[in-house]
Amino acid sequence: MELLNVFIKAAFIENLILSYFLGMCSFLAVSKTLKTAFGLGLAVIFVLGITMPINWLINTYLLDETGILGQDLTFLRFILFIAVIASMVQLVEMIIEKFSPSLYNSLGIFLPLITVNCAILGGSLFMVSREYNFSESVAFGLGGGFGWFLAIVALAAIREKIKYSAVPAPLRGLGMAFLLTGLMGMAFLSLLGIDPAAISGN
């Protein structure tokens, strides 16, 4: 049940985009149409769910002083994490291309771009600083990805509608996207009242 707590916390209460601004660049760039936003959201869930446990294993068994090498190699953390993320994205890309060419085509350029999505690296770094264990890190990865997915799909849907409104010219496009994200962030704040322990029955 502890895992459900971590999932709900990552997805709603401490949403990666709306309360930490992680993954903002692709969030703003890709949220113009609902369809691409949906695809990117799914890819982010997938990549976060995979890289998080791998980075956990690397951090615990390779970099930590108590690991296999017996030396404190934490200064290599950034380089190894980003290398894992880059290679995982590459791998995911190849697998999707092989097994589902239609999904691959609809994702297009956004798949490789996930490498530089701060939400992925940020998730791994949060995992380290919050000292999650293995299963918690899986739950955190999936929950964080799900929250990211929800936020980008919601913003894309609003942006599709707002095209037909009379927005002041200098605010059109980017400015409006920022305002909307801010409002969504405030709406998500109301979820702070959720008590994860009560949900999971602890």
């Binding site: 709306l18 309360s19 930490y20 601004f21 992680l22 993954g23 903002m24 660049c25 703003l28 760039a29 200064f75 953390r77 950034f78 380089i79 980003i82 290398a83 880059a86 490789p112 490498t115 530089v116 999505n117 701060c118 939400a119 992925i120 690296l121 940020g122 770094l125 949060f126 600083s129 002041p168 010219a169 200098p170 605010l171 059109r172 496009g173 980017l174 400015g175 409006m176 920022f178 305002l179 994200t181 801010g182 409002l183 962030g185 405030m186 704040l189």
Partner: protein, 237 residues
């Protein structure tokens, strides 16, 4: 050999109109945040206070300038297929240098910034400039471009942090020796709202400013002002 040396002397470290444009362009027409929309991810969460924002700004200028420089030096020997990885390794190394330095110099701020120093790696502005500029230009120009973009980024960060700290906490530069207490309900502040007959007795800190949403609103307003003042940036689509 002699020829190349002469060429370097003439072409490499000049500072003319073109070079100046590399520095000033990112401040206005090509601002990383309000125009290029890059690099918003990693740093907005730190803008609740001025001091961490300044630290992040300095770190980004450093990383941006030197990663541009090194990538530009290596640009002819980087194979196209693996350039992303090479660039990421360069950036990650520089960020590690920043992280360890900060950890040694000021541990409190290091703790406060937590993961956001590491997130400079995925700050799109660094990667974006490497791809768009450093891979195609000489080292000196790339260096200037990096400094320019780092400063253009930092200016927005510091403006946002200024308003958030002033209205959210009533102070400026809190946590540093230069701390200024501007407005608040105790006698330590310049404007003491609790004093008898104070004109500011209605004032209290705006808690919204401390929330992440406030940064989004402030940037939206900055974009609005910027585009109203510089109409060629208006989004026509």
């Amino acid at each position: 050999m002699a020829e190349t040396a002469v060429e370097k002397k003439e072409g490499v470290f000049t500072f003319g109109k073109k070079e100046r444009k590399l520095l000033t362009d990112p401040l206005n027409d090509n601002n990383p945040i309000t125009v290029q929309v890059l690099g918003i991810c990693s740093a907005l969460a730190v803008t609740t206070l001025l001091v961490p924002s300044i630290v992040i700004t300095v770190a980004v200028i450093f990383v941006c300038a030197f990663s541009n420089l090194f990538t530009s030096l290596l640009r002819k020997s980087i194979p196209k297929q693996v350039r992303m990885i090479v660039q990421l390794v360069i950036i990650a190394t520089l960020v590690t240098v920043v992280e360890l330095t900060l950890k040694a110099v000021n541990y409190d701020i290091y703790k406060q910034l937590s993961i956001f120093i590491g997130l400079i790696i995925t700050n799109c502005i660094v990667m974006g400039r490497l791809e768009a500029f450093a891979m195609a230009n000489s080292p000196w120009k790339s260096f200037l471009d990096g400094v320019g973009n780092g400063v253009g980024y930092g200016v927005i960060l510091i403006i946002v942090a200024f308003f958030r700290e002033l209205f959210g906490k009533g102070s400026l530069l809190a946590g540093s020796p230069l701390e200024m207490k501007i407005i608040g309900a105790t006698p330590e502040y310049w404007i003491n709202t609790a004093a008898d007959g104070s004109w500011f007795s209605w004032y209290s800190n705006n808690n919204l400013m401390v929330l992440p949403a406030a940064a989004m609103f402030l940037i939206a307003i900055l974009i609005w002002v910027h585009r109203a003042w510089n109409p060629k940036l208006v989004d026509i689509s």
